[in-house]
Amino acid sequence: MATRYFGVAMKRREDPRFITGRGTYVDDLTLPGLVYAAMVRSPHAHARIQAIHKEKALKHPGVIAVFTGKDMVDSGVKSLPCGWLLPGMKLPPHYPMAVDKVRHVGEIVAVVIAEDRYTAEDAARLVEVEYEVLPAVADGAKALQPGAPAVHDEAPDNVCFRWSIGDKEKTEEAFRRAHKTVKLELVNQRLIPNAIEPRAAMAQYNPATDEYTLWVTSQNPHVHRLLMAAFVLGIPEHKLRVISPDVGGGFGSKIFLYPEETIVTWAARQVGRPVKWTARRMESFVSDAHGRDHITEAELAVDEKGKVLGMRVKTIANLGAYLSTFAPAIPTYLYGTLLSGQYEIPTIYCEVTGVFTHTTPVDAYRGAGRPEATYVVERLMDIAARELGEDPAEFRRKNFIPPDKFPYQTPVALQYDSGNYEGALNKALEIIHYKELRRQQEELRKQGRYIGIGLSCYIEACGIAPSQVVGSLGAQAGLWESALVRVHPTGKVTVYTGSHTHGQGHETAFAQIVADELGIPIEDVEIVHGDTGSVPFGMGTYGSRSAPVGGSAIVLSLQKIKEKARKIAAHLLEAAEEDVVFEDGKFYVKGVPDRFKTFQEVALQAYLAHNYPPGLEPGLEASSFYDPKNFTFPFGTHICVVEVDPETGKVKILRYVAVDDAGRIINPLIAEGQVHGGIAQGVGQALLEGAVYDENAQLLSASMLDYALPRADDLPSFEIDHTVTPCPHNPLGVKGIGETGTIAATAAVVNAVMDALAPFGIRHIDMPLTPEKIWRAIREARAA
């Protein structure tokens, strides 16, 4: 069939509502009788709750109710579940509101329900909580020291789990044989996601039907429903409808089941009126799940020829005070398994210790585990190249997994599906004129100007799957995706997808797939998502799974639709089914293209069922659950060029080139946009962002005044290109593009800055590379 839409850089169909202010985000919604919730949050990182006095708040005009954690537990509310269990893992309870102790700043101790949001906030300040303040610890390494304050009685040493992957003995042996070893200690700092739309939830309870409706900022409404209904509130699943309308960015932070949305759903029933809560930004800083937060020791063993022999990695992963929904999976199966990078490394051994601290829980943030792995691998490769006196591009090239070795089994469990790493590297080097750039760098150094060139050759694992495998690794969910395709009598099509769009443009990209497959105009296709009341089921959007898993589910349903439509068409054309060809929206008998039935005619017949094949059910709709055979493995090379001002320490990004390979691209416009945004978040981590806790585990960077996100004038224009190595195991050949930029960028930028600082003998500085840190490092280097 002629492709008309797949691969075309179409403008997005969702944009008109956003550019005219007609989007519908949760906080835009209202209901008759709506009341507002304000959370009372702990100012202490660790404290015993002695007493909570509600009286003053309850007397405040406009206040309807005040509830505490005890009220919730007494009514039968259970702990928030963790969706990934590791062997031997400690899983202390996490109630929506603290009952006996608070364990991080911002933990909820009470909720005030009032007539409007101003009153609710006023009254929240009137709730008096008596605390016995206890010592606290924020740092993952310090939490492991003997005598550190314990976060939970269940884990007196603060260890949640110890996990390892790879062959320890074989790796030790490789290090014994090594010609040279390279060691690096690094911190992958804690980040705060900061979707610009704050989280929000509005819940309604209907006593007539005993049904709840929850509107929530969610990347995966069905998962929200399952976890909240079955595990926390004890509501039968079919009595809770979860709707996630337009969502203003997620980046992981809107995957998880949070206390607030559980509280408003429960409270709506208690007060008999719909309840809404919208996070203030300061609440987002202490209550949205944070990301990263690793302390790592990594080593590389290299032989005489510069071939990598082995890698050894030890990581302390700070999990925060409680286990968020997918927390244990991030520093283990999404991190340790990616440590082979793009390289043929004969043996790898990685140990991870998951640690509780008195901080906000940590979970998946854009890339989730994979940026942390890439950062370790790509920093090590750069340092190894430098210490071996090799060019960083050539050193990488020498160690790449060659294109003829796919599928490639790494020593850390994954089997990479397809790849051409040298192809992407070559293209990136060409775009940036690498050799010429290196010459310029030398010349400028002589003039006292410090240019740095940083490479990052990343690998990513998207669309984690199949369900059987993730189940065996501890996932408490299957990781397939569903799609229902409903053809209407006029031949218009509605697709109900279990994936979710919060900026990724699914309404356009998925419609492109459907219009092509059915040979119908794209205007005839509607994509519906985000409502458990209309979409059969779904796992949502995270880990760049929507195109490879969600898109593939749509294709499966379209195949079923076409099969059934062909049966109807064969009957109408009085032909044998196997002789009927479907092309450009028309069914015809092979060799007789002039005698045809259009897709629309067949659709109508499916519903009239007047002149209809015997034994075939009327109607034309199909539903599928697609369980992938494997992850997909996007890859690419990003190159960043920076100039560092040695007098101020300020880094200026001069150029940023990204060559990504995400398999076949559905819509290049959307794919490029995803890469841009991803790079911005990676640059943010490299240069600006970082959660800062003080000695008492107070979050110092708790507002946009104190936490630096990249602004327009912090970033350059990006130079984007791609190569195409199709995914061999899904019907679309797509791999996923949503996180590549973030996964690649931190290492590219840090490698560039360290390259610029090499003349000073500076080997490594931990992120964020703020002017002050760089300036101090240069000053110390000059003094030495």
Binding site: E14, G23, A680, M704, D713
Partner: protein, 158 residues
């Protein structure tokens, strides 16, 4: 105690009684139901709530509704005229200058202010002018192109 406020928003006059401490952004969203203006932070950092007040961009989370008494406000809902998108709206659509769309109204109105002051900005000037607006999705690359597109179109029209 509530006080009377009269504001013209997108050409329509509204008279309401509000608490003196009510922020303009909440007045627009919760009282008038104009939810195109968004709240992204509490500290006037993000710019999601930018509207035009008497023709100039203001962060409506740092203005009290009572301060807007007697003024002319334009929100994103009032930017398109006679069903014709403003060149900035067109530019954001054409150049893929948005993803989740949450920061977009504020971004467009900040850019509107820039183009009034400087009809032919360089990329650097566009980036500088938008430094009071956060976008977490686009990396700004396409936002800069969107503003440039609009500047060119407005110059042709002028």
């Amino acid at each position: 105690m509530k006080v009377p406020v009269t504001v013209t928003v997108n050409g329509q006059v509204y008279q309401r009684e509000v608490e003196p401490r009510m922020l303009l952004v909440h007045f627009l969203r919760d009282v008038l139901g104009l939810t195109g203006t968004h709240v992204g932070c509490d500290t006037s950092q993000c710019g999601a709530c930018v509207v035009l007040m008497d023709g100039k961009a203001v962060k409506s989370c740092t203005v009290f509704a009572v301060q807007a008494d007697g003024s002319q406000i334009t929100t994103i809902e009032g930017l398109a005229r006679d069903d014709q998108l403003h060149p900035l709206q067109e530019g954001f659509w054409e150049m893929h200058g948005l993803q989740c769309g949450f920061c977009t109204p504020g971004m467009i109105l900040s850019a509107y202010d820039l183009l009034q002051r400087n009809p032919n900005p360089t990329d650097e000037e566009i980036r500088h002018a938008l430094e009071g607006n956060y976008c977490r999705c686009t990396g700004y690359h396409n936002i800069v192109r969107a503003v440039r597109y609009a500047a060119e179109k407005l110059r042709v029209q002028a």
